[in-house]
């Protein structure tokens, strides 16, 4: 019991670090395209780790299923939205940062 | 002074901010935004007061009223936006001009 709790906490903390990395990237990266990189990839891993940490604590299969469903939906949404934002930026003629 | 009164005051601050913006801005879209902020302020006061009694569950009646209010607010916004587009189609601008105010 204790092992899963420790593992779960470690996963949650790791997840939070990735969210922080995504935010730092959002602030530090120079243009819209590079910021999208930071958001999609770091937040995907961050949420994945948080979900994994919570699944370890889940009381039942349905709760674990719900968490997994949330992760998949966010994955789908963030990948699609990143593509749409990048496409809109290209259409608007925003140049790449060199 | 607990957090309930904090939120009540924030709610009234939002209401006042919104009211100021409604009066000052000429652009209709900004007026619509401002009215929405005013509405949020009112809702905030209502729900904060519903949670006023420490230790008991919050009063569900204001909650239900606020849900009703949110739905009415979105429909009012939709109608206002449609009217704004109509004004724009008729007059060529979506603002209440200075002349019409005087």
């Amino acid at each position: 019991m204790l092992v899963t709790e420790i593992l779960s906490s470690l996963l949650l903390i790791a997840g939070a670090i990735f969210f922080l990395a995504g935010t730092v990237g959002l602030l530090r990266f120079p243009d819209v395209y590079t910021r999208l990189h930071a958001l999609t990839k770091a937040d995907n891993v961050g949420l994945g780790l948080v979900v994994a940490g919570l699944v370890l604590q889940a009381e039942s299969w349905t709760v674990a299923g719900k968490l997994l469903l949330i992760w998949l939906l966010v994955l789908l949404a963030s990948a699609s939205i990143a593509h749409l934002v990048a496409k809109a930026a290209r259409k608007k003629g925003i140049e790449l940062w060199k | 002074m607990n957090n309930i009164y904090l939120y009540t005051i924030v709610g009234m601050g939002l209401f006042t901010l919104g009211l100021y913006a409604v009066i000052v801005h000429a652009h209709l879209l900004r007026k619509i935004l401002a009215i929405n902020v005013m509405g949020s302020g009112v809702f905030l006061v209502l729900v904060a007061l519903a949670a006023r009694n420490q230790g008991t569950a919050p009063d569900p009646v204001p909650h239900a009223m606020v849900i009703t209010g949110i739905v009415v607010a979105v429909s009012a916004t939709a109608l206002a936006l449609a009217l704004m587009l109509r004004v724009r189609a008729k007059t060529g601008q979506a603002e209440l001009s200075e002349e019409s105010l005087e």
């Binding site: - | 957090n3 005051i9 729900v47 006023r52 919050p58 009063d59 239900a64 936006l81």
Partner: protein, 343 residues
């Protein structure tokens, strides 16, 4: 209350005020709307802090989501017509504005003083309210068993204050009629939104339907209910519309109209049936209340969802005329009014 909680509440409160201020003063309208959406999401967080999860769900989906979508689509329509001219006009106005604001300065100062007085008055009234008033919460709790549901908010919405909810559904319907009477759906030559958005909407719409059904069911005993479910259905509709789907002429006729009034109709019907049995309007016998509320909510969910999506569409969709259209008596054909679409 711990210090940490107080800090969080203070931060949240200030963020709300700051975001509202930014949204209302930002010179760029697009930016203003995006900030307003962020404001809506923080409001949802605030509802959670105030123990109102039902309200939080309604706020996140309607207050932030649908209102944001409506505002953005209206902004796009504002900009699409002679956009460059509007910008020129604005620049011109900005020049004259500075002069005006100089003249307006005393007026603005006066306004601020007046508004500060209003705010102070409001704060005084609230802070001097009597403490520990039981409110209606106890009454709701005592009668919960006879309401047919165990979520107090749903009980208030669909049973105790059924009148309010019925009228609210009517307001929603009236709004749509108002929007429709302002003109037909504008023929927008939107470009094909691209396969990614199209696929996203095709994947998400069935899942949104599932989620709406779930909220409808769970509303009886936990946060959720017809309004939250309806707004999810509305969101599904908005997604479909964004991906280029338009109701066909057959669908936009009678089927659309029936589904729009279904909520109000079911509500009124449920109220009327028991008048015949010697009860009052909207007074349900406790043994039937649960099933009745579920039926009304199912109809209301459908109506709310479709009404919200139709509001996003922004005008009456084209529908095929019924085949049996009769010519009007005593009126020669030539004198019938000809409708012309305004530019």
């Amino acid at each position: 209350m711990t210090l940490l909680q107080l800090m969080f509440d203070t931060l949240l409160g200030f963020s709300l005020l700051w975001l509202a201020w930014q949204a209302l003063t930002s010179p760029d309208l697009f930016r203003a709307i995006v900030l307003f959406i962020a404001f809506g999401l923080l409001m949802a967080l605030t509802w959670i802090r105030l123990d109102a999860p039902d309200v939080a769900m309604a706020e996140a989906s309607i207050g932030a989501g649908l209102t944001g979508a409506l505002l953005l689509s209206a902004l796009a329509r504002l900009g699409s017509k002679n956009g460059s001219r509007a910008i020129l006009e604005k620049k011109h106005q900005a020049g004259s504005m500075t002069e005006n604001t100089k003249n307006q300065l005393p007026f603005r100062l006066l306004l601020m003083v007046l508004l500060l007085a209003v705010a102070a008055g409001l704060v005084y009234v609230v802070l001097t309210l009597p403490e520990n008033i039981p409110g209606l919460g106890i009454l709701v709790e005592e009668n919960l068993e006879s309401s047919g549901v165990s979520n107090p908010v749903t009980a208030v919405l669909l049973n105790y204050r059924g009148y309010d909810t019925l009228l609210e559904l009517s307001v929603l319907l009236l709004t749509l009629l108002g929007v429709w009477s302002l003109g037909d759906m504008t023929k927008q030559h939107e470009s094909f939104p691209g396969p990614v958005l199209s696929t996203l909407s095709r994947l998400l719409v069935p899942l949104l339907i599932m989620a709406a059904g779930y909220l409808l069911w769970v509303g009886a005993h936990a946060p959720g209910g017809a309004f939250q479910a309806g707004s999810l259905l509305g969101a599904a509709g908005v997604l479909l519309l964004l991906a280029g789907w338009r109701p066909g002429t057959r669908l936009a006729g009678l089927p659309l109209r029936i589904s729009l009034v279904l909520g109000v109709a079911a509500f009124v019907a449920a109220g009327m049936v028991f008048i015949l049995l010697g009860r009052q309007f909207l007074e349900y016998p406790p043994s039937f209340a649960g099933v009745l509320i579920l039926l009304i909510e199912a109809a209301a969910t459908l109506s709310i969802g479709i009404t919200l999506a139709a509001l996003f569409l922004g005008g009456r969709p084209k529908f095929s005329q019924p085949k049996f259209s009769r010519p009007k008596l005593n009126q020669p054909k030539s004198s019938q009014p000809k409708f012309r679409r305004h530019k």
